[in-house]
């Protein structure tokens, strides 16, 4: 998004300052409406705008590059935190498609830890991407349908997950299906690692939790080609309590659930103070 904004700023030909400010406001509205709301994104846009006072486009572009660099550094630091995980000769289950998890696996491999990966299948595209990554990285792997993970519980030593964000109330927003696998592994006392940079925390109060349900009318042939019509429900995300996770790997180190909650509260307080000082369009 930031890279796209940088390109858009280079491409635009708006001379009128007022028109430019009006269009910035439209972009802020757009960024605010993206669900789930990403603090990393919203805050970046406010920072870019405020530091450049909304009209110095060159300065805005410089700020974008600065922010991009800082996020890259965060990701590197998170990967470095992951080095502490002892994964040698272990089997790691992965489920969702997360760059943080992929970077962590690559880092562990770099540090000469020899492990294998079990990919629990979700949708074709994401599973396919995980397979492509593991194949390219020369990491040994097997694939299992996610509803059959219970058959391999004994062979799983730990599980790695990514998340979209972490919300007030101590819940991670994750890919659908994550909660059942995490609960299942939790029951078997398998260590669960979750990888997320703190800039992705949603640092504002959760007003109401709206479930995004996709209802689709479906017709299928069942029993001697008789057509059966029904509603097929699909959910966009799972919300998983932090207490179900053992370790949260961030750029600041590896936290347990309590430390994660504390870190969230502290960041939320700081952000609130900073935002009150910002001039919003």
């Amino acid at each position: 998004m930031l890279e796209s904004f940088e390109i858009a700023l280079r491409q635009h030909r708006i001379k009128n300052r007022e028109e430019l400010l009006k269009q910035f406001s439209e972009i802020f509205e757009l960024v605010e409406t993206i669900k789930p709301r990403y603090a990393i994104l919203i805050d970046s846009f406010y920072k870019i705008f405020n530091q450049a006072k909304g009209h110095d486009v060159e300065r805005m572009i410089r700020n974008i590059n600065k922010i991009k660099k800082s996020y890259c550094k965060e990701m590197k630091d998170l990967t470095r935190s992951a080095e502490k995980i002892k994964a040698n000769k272990k089997t790691i289950l992965i489920y969702d498609h997360s760059h943080s998890v992929q970077n962590a696996l690559r880092q562990l491999q770099k540090k000469r830890q020899k492990f294998s990966v079990l990919v629990a299948e979700q949708d074709l595209e994401k599973t396919g991407d995980n397979i492509a990554f593991l194949h390219k990285s020369n990491i040994p792997f097997k694939v299992v349908p996610s509803y059959m993970v219970s058959h391999l519980e004994d062979s799983i030593d730990m599980a790695f997950f990514g998340a979209v964000t972490f919300q007030e109330g101590g819940r991670f927003v994750m890919d659908p299906g994550s909660k059942s696998i995490i609960s299942q592994l939790r029951l078997e006392k398998k260590p669960i690692y979750l990888f997320l940079t703190t800039s992705k925390f949603s640092l504002w109060p959760v007003k109401d939790v709206k479930k995004q349900v996709h209802v689709k009318s479906d017709i299928r042939n069942h029993h001697h080609f008789e057509e059966v019509a029904f509603e097929r429900l699909k959910f966009s995300h799972d919300r998983v309590p932090v207490d179900l996770v053992d370790h949260v790997v961030t750029e600041k180190g590896i936290f347990n659930p309590e430390q994660t909650k504390k870190e969230f509260a502290s960041l939320m307080k700081t952000r609130k103070e900073e935002r009150s000082r910002l001039e919003l369009p």
């Binding site: 904004f5 390109i7 700023l9 491409q11 030909r13 708006i14 757009l30």
Partner: protein, 444 residues
């Protein structure tokens, strides 16, 4: 044999009855069109209108072989990832600008349809256009409608662009080059004017977005997404180059057809089988053959037999004589054939129509054999049938497929909303063709 002797006096009504039923069943989509055509053909043999040998002789295997070969080449080209790569490049170079997206995709559709099957072209371009345009926050309606129309106009340009062209080209013996030489002006002009008409009537949607920062942002976000998805697709460049090389050689073969002294189907088949040999490690031959549209080929085979049945009864000869005697004015006859085939093709499938018209037009052209421009009547039929196909949502297969694809992606195209654009555009293109053919007949 006894049955055949008994039915001998009734061959005329039987042939007309089978033909009428087949035509109506195709128009109203009562059965699969290939099944109807082949069933009609079998019925004519069973009732003794044609014997088996006559029926087999009626089938123009040059057309069947040409279509099958081109389907194989297109399928392998699709498997190579070339079309995906091309679509990605177009999206990238457009920079998300609707003005350029419209220009690139309509022109590539027209050009692609000239050398590939119209339906294949639509199947390739429509899904990515819908994804791209919708991602930018626009309604893809106008883009899809334009692509369908450019596909039909572009398809009219070459011998292999549209099945009616293949029919006329191979039956009459018109070369690939003749199509290019004689149709470049009306098709080029039609493309230009239709393009301008679309820009003029949809300027609000199609104008450049340099002055709209939110739209620029969304375009770039979408392009980044497409770029990311594309990065994960491993392209085999050697495979693509082999496909392009052999496709290029095949088209070169079409252009040099008369110098080579080979039927066009032989050139296409040579291209198809050479391609399969060269890339045999990259393809599954069974799968490639399974993608050949055997139903379309069966439909053609059945139609040839049904039309032969009609011809044998002499009714086509009678109709041709009526057409010739209806006017002594050659220019009027050109317009009659152009507009008649154009208007009929807006509603009925132009393949059976052209199949019936070929034997009729042979008689008419024969009657005007002394006229220096008698051949223009063939061009009137070709242009009318191809451009008339744009007229309504059901006028050509590409229209039906394009509308269906768009509908699957949530773009609503109704018969009337399509007609709002298709009717004036069909009229524009038929007027351009009329002017071109009349100038050709009168001044050259």
């Amino acid at each position: 044999m006894l049955l055949h002797t008994l039915l001998d006096p009734y061959h005329l009504p039987i042939a007309i009855g089978v033909f009428t039923f087949t035509f109506l069943a195709i128009i109203f989509d009562l059965f699969d069109k290939a099944v109807v055509a082949m069933a009609g053909a079998i019925l004519l043999i069973l009732l003794g209108v044609l014997n088996f040998d006559q029926a087999i002789e009626a089938i123009n295997f040059e057309i069947i072989a040409l279509l099958a070969a081109m389907m194989i080449i297109v399928e392998i080209a699709q498997q190579s990832g070339f079309f995906k790569e091309l679509n990605f490049k177009l999206a990238k170079y457009s920079k998300g600008n609707p003005f350029l997206i419209f220009l690139f995709f309509t022109l590539i559709t027209a050009f692609g349809s000239a050398f590939l099957d119209n339906v294949t072209t639509i199947l390739i371009v429509v899904p990515i256009t819908v994804a791209l345009v919708r991602g930018l926050g626009y309604n893809p309606f106008i883009f899809v409608v334009a692509e369908i129309m450019f596909s039909n106009i572009g398809g009219a340009w070459t011998l292999i662009g549209d099945p009616p062209n293949v029919l006329v080209g191979t039956e009459v013996g018109i070369s690939f080059n003749s199509f290019l030489v004689n149709l470049s002006i009306p098709i080029g002009l039609s493309l230009l004017l239709v393009l301008l008409a679309f820009y003029a009537t949809n300027w609000k949607i199609l104008r450049p977005i340099h002055h709209n920062l939110p739209k620029l942002l969304m375009s770039n976000v979408l392009l980044k997404k497409i770029e990311y998805q594309h990065k994960n697709v491993k392209l085999n460049k050697a495979f693509i180059w082999k496909v392009l090389l052999i496709l290029g050689f095949t088209i070169l073969g079409f252009l040099l057809q008369f110098k080579l002294g080979l039927p066009i189907a032989v050139i296409a088949s040579a291209g198809a089988f050479l391609l399969m040999l060269v890339v045999h490690k990259k393809i599954h031959v069974h799968q490639v053959f399974s993608t050949v549209e055997w139903t379309t080929l069966g439909f053609f085979g059945g139609l040839f037999i049904i039309v032969e049945g009609l011809a044998k009864t002499g009714i086509l000869e009678i109709f041709a004589q009526w057409l010739v005697t209806s006017t002594s004015n050659f220019n009027l006859l050109i317009l009659l054939i152009l507009w008649g085939s154009g208007l009929l093709s807006t509603l009925i499938n132009n393949i059976p129509f052209v199949t019936v018209m070929i034997p009729i037009l042979f008689t008419v052209v024969g009657h005007f054999s002394g006229h220096p421009h008698a051949d223009i009547l063939w061009w009137a039929l070709i242009l009318g049938a191809a451009l008339g196909g744009n007229g309504t949502m059901i006028g050509a297969s590409a229209n039906v497929i394009g509308v269906d694809l768009a509908r699957k992606d949530g773009v609503k195209i109704t018969f009337l909303s399509y007609l709002k654009y298709s009717l004036p555009i069909t009229l524009i293109t038929l007027v351009i063709s009329s002017a071109y053919l009349l100038i050709w007949a009168t001044y050259f």
